[in-house]
């Protein structure tokens, strides 16, 4: 019986309609696009390099980041044994940069992760529920939106006291509202699409709909936004430490190092500027990653 139908189909539909081979899955094609973009490849390599020297710091240096000798204070770049110089208490700068990267990256990535989960959840909830739940969540977010990010981060961190956890918490709070906004917008858009209505019409539960239809559409934009948020987070978290509100000495951290080396700019200007280079490079990489991710996803959708 079905064979006859297939024959009918092949008579009715012109052969030109039939494509040659099946297309790959959505996420696989996104990664294919990413792999072909030279900028993304370059940036990924740099990021992998940074991750390597920070997480694998003991592998690239055997000096102690906390041990310094007053005799070896503020040596310039190229000093034998300290190829990037030393800081104001004589600690090897290269070592401090490598170990410092751990805390800097942690302080940058954790708040965004918090915002991704909390903000994403609230945004999807607000977007899918609509009504008073939506209003309550979005208006609350509006209040936090009323503060410029730096101001809010400084205010919260200033009141809670300094330290890595407080800095992460403060930045997490700062990043949740924009994440909620992005998630809510996309969820509201997906919710009104016909295929979601069709799913509802066939009796699927809300949770299943969110899991299979809404989430896939929301995940893309949220991830792109989170990546760009990391680049901001690096600058903000280092900035908080720069002000003395984040990581405390003697922990190595790029922002903190930048601050403590400020007095040294008259003595060893190049060494004093080094931590900022790390912050800049890392932030730039995440920014370019985010751009690459966005175009890899956009073109696919607009096809």
């Amino acid at each position: 019986m079905s064979d006859a139908t297939i024959d009918t189909a092949q008579r009715v539909l012109p052969a030109a309609d039939a494509p040659a081979s099946p297309a790959p899955g959505y996420w696989k094609s996104v990664s294919q696009r990413l792999a072909r973009d030279p900028v993304t490849i370059a940036v990924s390599l740099v990021l992998i390099g940074i991750l390597f020297i920070t997480i694998g710091a003991p592998l690239v240096t055997n000096a102690d980041p906390y041990a310094g000798s007053v005799l070896a204070r503020l040596k310039p770049i190229g000093t034998p044994g300290h190829w990037l110089g030393t800081d104001e208490t004589g600690r090897d700068l290269w070592t401090r940069l490598c170990y410092g990267g751990r805390l800097s990256l942690l302080a940058a990535v954790l708040p965004v992760t918090i915002a991704l989960f909390v903000g994403g959840f609230l945004g999807i909830l607000a977007g899918y529920s609509g009504g008073w739940i939506n209003t309550a969540i979005m208006r609350t977010m509006d209040v936090f939106y009323a503060f410029p990010s730096i101001l809010l981060a400084v205010a919260i961190c200033g009141m809670l006291g300094n330290g890595l956890t407080n800095s992460i918490l403060a930045l997490g709070v700062v990043f949740i509202p924009p994440m909620v906004r992005v998630a809510e917008t996309v969820t509201t858009q997906s919710r009104n699409l016909d295929f979601v209505e069709a799913a509802r019409a066939s009796g699927t539960t809300t949770l299943q709909i969110i899991r299979h239809h809404v989430l896939a559409n929301v995940l893309g934009p949220i991830l792109v936004y989170a990546t760009s948020l990391i680049s901001v987070s690096i600058i903000l978290s280092a900035g908080l430490s720069f002000l003395g509100l984040g990581v405390t000495p003697p922990e190595p951290e790029w922002g903190l190092m930048l601050n403590s080396l400020r007095q040294a700019i008259y003595v060893q200007p190049y060494v004093a500027a080094l931590p900022g280079v790390m912050i800049f490079v890392t932030s730039m990489c995440f920014n370019l990653m985010s751009d690459g991710l966005r175009s890899a996803m956009d073109v696919r959708l607009n096809k």
Partner: protein, 312 residues
């Protein structure tokens, strides 16, 4: 239009109230008693009780909030814990200084941003685009406090061209102290330049790709009139973002002001945090946030005035 403006105004009121709640609440999330922050640890219990009553800490929380809010609306933020001078006066002076920086920084940043964005868009795909886009992206990714340090390095350390800190001699009028302005303003202009540059590029590219531009060119219009059309269409979102960026410069100047020791509201905030000067802290955050909300409000109304599609 009027209805839209009034409605936005009404919507701003609960937000402002929420902001004041957050600012008030901030003080109370700090570990420890607020009074402990104001008093030396060896103060006797009677003096502590006196100070509590004077500051109103003995009253229930919502009473404290209401009293504080009512006084704040009239500009009375009490006395600074650090130097016993009225908070309002210090804040106003500091705000004026920040305002100078913010206006100039915004002007420079916007001008450069529009330039880079236009170049990038009009030479899309060729090398000017890549260069201009790189500049704009760098503007957004650069930690501006680090740029401040680098600029100080180049202009004050390596060569003695510009002063590294402060506002100069107060007795001199501002236009004789312009050299103090240069470095902070340039630093502040970096992020707006980057942000506006990227938006202008994206918006102009988007407009260029639309059919009506092709139609205009086909009608025989030469370059300039088409450019005018493009600008008219690109203006609303860019102007809105400019308003936002100005707000960020006003409210987020703390890092740059710290590096240059510029006596503005950001610097005041920094000092207040480290001195635990609660009245100054609350006043500064509240005023800066209120500014931001009102600025957003004006931007929204201005946008709706230009683009009728926005008014619901």
């Amino acid at each position: 239009m009027l209805v839209f403006a009034l409605r936005r105004l009404l919507q701003a009121i609960p937000i402002l109230l929420g902001v004041s709640l957050v600012v008030f609440g901030l003080v109370h999330i700090a570990p420890g008693n607020p009074i402990d922050m104001l008093m030396p640890p060896e103060a006797s219990p009677e003096i502590v009780a006196q100070m509590k009553a004077a500051y109103g800490f003995d009253k229930p929380l919502y009473m404290q909030y209401l009293l504080w809010l009512l006084r704040a609306v009239r500009g009375d933020f009490g006395l600074s814990v650090f130097n016993a001078a009225p908070v309002w006066g210090q804040l106003v002076t500091a705000l004026e200084n920040t305002f100078i920086l913010a206006i100039l920084g915004a002007a420079l940043g916007f001008a450069l941003g529009i330039l880079t964005g236009l170049i990038a868009a009009l030479y899309h795909g060729r090398w000017p685009d890549k260069v201009a886009s790189a500049i704009a992206t760098a503007g957004v990714s650069l930690p501006h406090y680090w740029c401040a340090i680098v600029l100080v390095l180049v202009f004050a350390v390596f060569h003695d061209w510009l002063p590294a800190q402060g506002m100069g001699d107060d007795s001199l009028p501002i236009w004789q102290r312009l050299d103090f302005l240069v470095l902070p303003v340039v630093t502040l202009s970096l992020i707006p330049m980057g942000v506006i540059g990227r938006l202008v590029r994206a918006t102009v590219l988007d407009i260029l790709g639309q059919d009506f531009v092709g139609a205009l060119s086909a009608k025989g219009l030469t370059r300039w009139p088409v450019l005018r059309h493009i600008i008219k269409n690109a203006a609303p979102p860019v102007l809105a973002l400019m308003g936002l960026q100005f707000g960020y410069l006003l409210g987020g100047s703390i890092l740059v002001e710290t590096v240059f020791n510029w006596p503005g509201s950001g610097n005041l905030l920094n000092l207040a945090i480290f001195r635990r000067d609660i009245p100054v802290l609350q006043a500064t955050i509240l005023v800066l946030a209120t500014f931001f909300v009102l600025l957003n409000l004006m931007v929204d109304i201005a946008q709706a005035a230009i683009d009728p599609r926005i008014r619901r």
